[in-house]
C-alpha cells in the first residue's frame, strides 16, 4: 500500500536503493517481533491502547447499565468495584498515556525530520513492556482478582487485612511494571527531541506538539517515582509485613495519598498536555494559518508542567489538613488555570483570524474546546477548598474529570486520528462517516456526563454500585446511561471509519491537508527511513516553506542523505547545528526477550514464587548485560594508546 519510490530531483536511484536496504525490514514473522521502526512501534501503541480503551469502555458500559435504575442487580458489588477500578486504572494508565505516546512515537521523528527515535531498541522494549503490563492487569479480571480499590487505591483499604487476595498485588505490580515502559519512553522522547532535530530546527522552530511531548516526558521523569515508591511500599506492606501505611505501628495512611497525588496531579497534565499539542498541530491545516502566539503557548506548556507539581493537595481537601496549607494549594490550583486560558484563547484567536475548513479533525477540535472549557471551569471551582469539600467524591467530580479527560484528551486524539490517518495508513477516511461519528460522540458525551454535575450536586456519591431511589438521581442516571450507549455507537462508527479507510479508503497523497509540519513533507505512509533527504528547516512552518522544500530536492546534499548506512543526524540542543551523523541500531529480538523476562519476574512476584522471581531477575540482568555488550573493534578505531 505504500507509494512507489520515484527518485526526486536531488537524490539518485542508487541512494534510494541503499537507504531502502539499510532501513527496510522484510515482511516476515521474525521482523514482526524484532522491529525497531518507530512508525511500526507507534502504530502498535495506538492499536494496543485502543484495545485497552475498548475493554475499559465496555467496563464502563456495564457500570452504566448497573446504574441505569436504582437497586439494580446486573453485577454484584464485588464485580462493580473491580469494574470501576479497572475502568479508571486502564483509562488513565493503559489508554490515555500510551495512546498519546503512540502518536508521539509515530510523529516526533517525522516532525523533527529524523529517521528514528534516539534509542530505537529501548523504544521497542517500552512497547513490549506496555503490552505485557496491560495484559498482566487485565488478565486478573476474568478470575475476579482485579484491583478493586479505586484507581487511587487509598490506604488502609488496600492493606492485606482489609483487602485479602491478589487484587491489590496486581495493582501494585502492574503499575510498577508499566512504569518501566513509561519512563523509558519518556527518556527516549527527551533525547530524541533534543538531539535528533533536523538541521536548522532551533528551539523556537520546534512544533508545539513536540514541545508538549517533551514537557510531558519531563513530568513523567519527575512524577512517576512517587507512584513507584508508593506501590513498592504497598507491596512490601502487603507481602512482607512492613508498616508504612499502618497507623498502629507508626505508619501513616495519608502518606499514600500525598505520594499518590504528587504523581497523580502531574499525571492528569501528562495526559492532557500532548493532547493539547495535537490541537496545536491540527489547527494550522484547517485554519489555514499558523497558531497564534507560539511563544505564549510554549510558555504555558512549560509553566503548567512546573506548577502542576505544586497542587496535589487539592485532591485531599476533605482530609482535614491545616487551613493554611489548603489556602496555599487552593491558590496554586487557581493559578494553574491561567496557562490553559492562554492556550484556549490563542486557539480561538487562530480560528477567528484564519479561514476555517470544516473537516472532521476541526470538528473534533471544536468539540474539544466546548467540552474542555466546561470541564476546566469545574476544575477551577474545585480549586476553592470550601466548594470542593462539598462536591468532592460525588458525581460532580466524575463529571469534571470526564469532561477534561474526554473533552481534553479523547477529542484531540480523535482529531489527531482523522488528521494523521492518511499519513499513518496512506488512505483517506470517509468524511460523511466521520461527521456522523463526531456528532454521535459529541452528543453522547454530553448526554452521559452533563447530568453527573446535577446528581453530584444532588448528593450522589461516586463509587457506589447502586443507589436508593431519590428524586433527581433516578431519572438523570437513566439519561447518563442512555448517553453512554449513544457514545458507544459513535465510537463504533469511529472504528468502522478507520477500518473502512484501511480497507477501502482512497490512497492518500503525501500532503492531503497542506499541513505545516515536516511529517507532511514526505510520503504517506513514510518509507522506513522517513525522509530520503533529511530536510533543512528555516521557519516554524517548514512544510509551507519553499526553502525547506528546496533543501530536499535540488538543494539536497550528501550529508543529509546519509545512505552509506543506517544513519541519521545529530544536531545541537538549542540551535540544531549539525554535529555528526550517527549509526542507528538494527532490529533485534532482545527488547522482546527482556520484556518477557520482566513479565516472568512480575508474574512470579505476584504468585509469591520468589525463587522463580530471583532467577528471572538474574535473566533480566543477563539480558541487559548482553544487550549492551560492546562490539569488538580494532584498537586503532577505538583509539587505544596504552
Amino acid at each position: 500500500m505504500s507509494t512507489t519510490t520515484t527518485p526526486s530531483p536531488g537524490i539518485s536511484r542508487e541512494d534510494l536503493t541503499r537507504l531502502g536496504a539499510h532501513w527496510g525490514e522484510p515482511a516476515s514473522l521474525r521482523s514482526w517481533f524484532t522491529t525497531v521502526d518507530h512508525k511500526r512501534i507507534g502504530r502498535r501503541y495506538l492499536v494496543t491502547a485502543g484495545f485497552f480503551f475498548v475493554l475499559a469502555g465496555l467496563s464502563a458500559l456495564v457500570m452504566r447499565t448497573q446504574l441505569a435504575r436504582p437497586e439494580a442487580g446486573v453485577v454484584s458489588p464485588q464485580q462493580y468495584n473491580q469494574l470501576f477500578t479497572m475502568h479508571g486504572t486502564a483509562m488513565i494508565f493503559l489508554f490515555a498515556t500510551p495512546m498519546l505516546f503512540g502518536f508521539g512515537n509515530f510523529l516526533v521523528p517525522l516532525m523533527i525530520g529524523s529517521r528514528d527515535m534516539a534509542f530505537p531498541r529501548l523504544n521497542a522494549f517500552g512497547y513490549w513492556v506496555f503490552l505485557f503490563a496491560g495484559l498482566f492487569m487485565w488478565a486478573s479480571l476474568p478470575f475476579g482478582a482485579a484491583p478493586n480499590n479505586g484507581w487511587f487505591a487509598y490506604a488502609p483499604l488496600s492493606s492485606e487485612a482489609h483487602n485479602p487476595g491478589l487484587h491489590m498485588d496486581v495493582y501494585a505490580l502492574g503499575l510498577l511494571f508499566l512504569g518501566i515502559s513509561t519512563t523509558s519512553a519518556s527518556i527516549n522522547f527527551i533525547v530524541t527531541a533534543l538531539k535528533l532535530r533536523a538541521p536548522g530546527m532551533s528551539l523556537n522552530r520546534v512544533p508545539l506538539f513536540v514541545w508538549a511531548i517533551v514537557a510531558t516526558a519531563f513530568m513523567v521523569i519527575f512524577a512517576l517515582p512517587a507512584l513507584n515508591l508508593d506501590n513498592a511500599m504497598l507491596f512490601l506492606d502487603r507481602r512482607f509485613g512492613t508498616h508504612f501505611f499502618d497507623p498502629s505501628a507508626g505508619g501513616n495512611v495519608l502518606l499514600w495519598q500525598h505520594l499518590f497525588w504528587i504523581f497523580g496531579h502531574p499525571d492528569v497534565y501528562i495526559i492532557v498536555m500532548p493532547a493539547l499539542g495535537i490541537v496545536s498541530a491540527v489547527l494550522p491545516a484547517f485554519t489555514r494559518r499558523g497558531v497564534v502566539g507560539y511563544p505564549l503557548i510554549v510558555l504555558s506548556i512549560v509553566s503548567i508542567s512546573i506548577i502542576s507539581f505544586g497542587v496535589w493537595v487539592h485532591h485531599m481537601f476533605a482530609t482535614g489538613l491545616p487551613q493554611l496549607s489548603y489556602s496555599f494549594f487552593s491558590a496554586a490550583s487557581t493559578i494553574i488555570t491561567i496557562p490553559s486560558g492562554i492556550q484556549i484563547f490563542a486557539w480561538l484567536a487562530t480560528m477567528a483570524l484564519g479561514r476555517l475548513v470544516l473537516r472532521v479533525p476541526l470538528l473534533f477540535v471544536i468539540g474539544f474546546i466546548v467540552t474542555f472549557v466546561l470541564g476546566g471551569f469545574t476544575g477551577a471551582m474545585f480549586a476553592l477548598t470550601a466548594f470542593d469539600q462539598q462536591v468532592t467524591d460525588s458525581y460532580f467530580v466524575v463529571a469534571h474529570f470526564h469532561y477534561v479527560l474526554i473533552g481534553g484528551a479523547v477529542f484531540p486524539m480523535l482529531a489527531g486520528l482523522y488528521y494523521w490517518l492518511p499519513k499513518i495508513s496512506g488512505r483517506m477516511y470517509h468524511e460523511r462517516l466521520g461527521r456522523w461519528a463526531f456528532w454521535l460522540v459529541f452528543a453522547g458525551m454530553h448526554v452521559t456526563f452533563f447530568p453527573m454535575h446535577l446528581y453530584g450536586l444532588f448528593g450522589m456519591p461516586r463509587r457506589v454500585y447502586t443507589y436508593r431511589s431519590e428524586p433527581g438521581w433516578d431519572g438523570w442516571n437513566l439519561v447518563s446511561t442512555a448517553g453512554s450507549y449513544l457514545l458507544a455507537v459513535g465510537l463504533l462508527l469511529v472504528l468502522v471509519g478507520v477500518l473502512h479507510a484501511l480497507l477501502r479508503g482512497r490512497p492518500a497523497p503525501g500532503d492531503p491537508w497542506e499541513g505545516d509540519s515536516l511529517e507532511w513533507a514526505t510520503a504517506s505512509p513514510p518509507e522506513p527511513y522517513n525522509f530520503p533527504v533529511l530536510p533543512r528547516v528555516h521557519s516554524l512552518h517548514p512544510a509551507w516553506d519553499a526553502r525547506t522544500a528546496e533543501s530536499t530536492t535540488t538543494g539536497a546534499t550528501a550529508d543529509r542523505i546519509l545512505s552509506a548506512g543506517r544513519r541519521t543526524l545529530v544536531t545541537s540542543e538549542l540551535d540544531a547545528h549539525r554535529e555528526r551523523a550517527v549509526e542507528m541500531p538494527e532490529s533485534s529480538v532482545k527488547p522482546l526477550l527482556l520484556a518477557g523476562a520482566l513479565l516472568v519476574l512480575f508474574t512470579s512476584l505476584l504468585f509469591a514464587w520468589y525463587p522463580v522471581a530471583a532467577v528471572a531477575a538474574l535473566i533480566v540482568a543477563a539480558t541487559i548485560a548482553v544487550w549492551l555488550w560492546p562490539p569488538r573493534r580494532p584498537d586503532e578505531e577505538l583509539g587505544v594508546v596504552a
Binding site: 519527575f222 512492613t242 507508626g250 500525598h258 504528587i262 573493534r633 580494532p634 577505538l638 596504552a642
Partner: protein, 178 residues
Amino acid sequence: MVMFVATEATLFACLLGSYFYLRFQYGPQWPPDGIEDPKLLKPLVMTAVLLPSSLPVVWAEHGIRRGQRWRLRAGLTATLLLGATFLTLQATEYAEKLKHFTMTTDVYGSLFYLITGFHGLHVLVGLTMIGWLLAASLRGGSFGAHRHDRVRNAAIYWHFVDLVWIAILFTIYLSPRL
C-alpha cells in the same frame, strides 16, 4: 543516563521525604520506643569507603578518554573493591541491627531497611555495571578514546549512588541526633 539518574534521584527524594513525613507525624519520640539512635561509627567508616570510590572512576574515565586502557582497568578495580567493602560493612551492620529490630517491628524498622536496603541495591547495581565494564575492558576491543559512552554512563550512575549516600547518612544516621 542523566535523565535516568534524574528519575532515580526523584525516587530517593520521595523516599527520604517519606521518612521525614512519617517521622514528624509520629511524634516527639524518634526512633520509636525500644530502638536506640543509630550508632555513628560504622556508617562513618562506610562513608569513608564509599565516598572516595568515585575518584578512581573519574581517574579511569579520564584515562580512557586519552586512550589509556590500563587506567580504566586499574580505576575500575579499585572502585569495585571499595564498593564491595561498603556492601560487606553494610551486611555486618544489618547483622547487628537485625538482632534489635527488623523490617516488621514498626515503621522505623520498615523505613530503615527500605532506605538503606534500596541504596544497597543501587550499590550492587552500580558494582555490576563496574564489573561489567571491567570485564569488557579486559576482553579488549571495547573502549578507547573514541568510544567510552558506556564508561561515562556507568560513571554518572556511580557518582549518583555515592552522592545519595550522603543524603542517607544525614537522614538516617545524623538527623535523629539533631
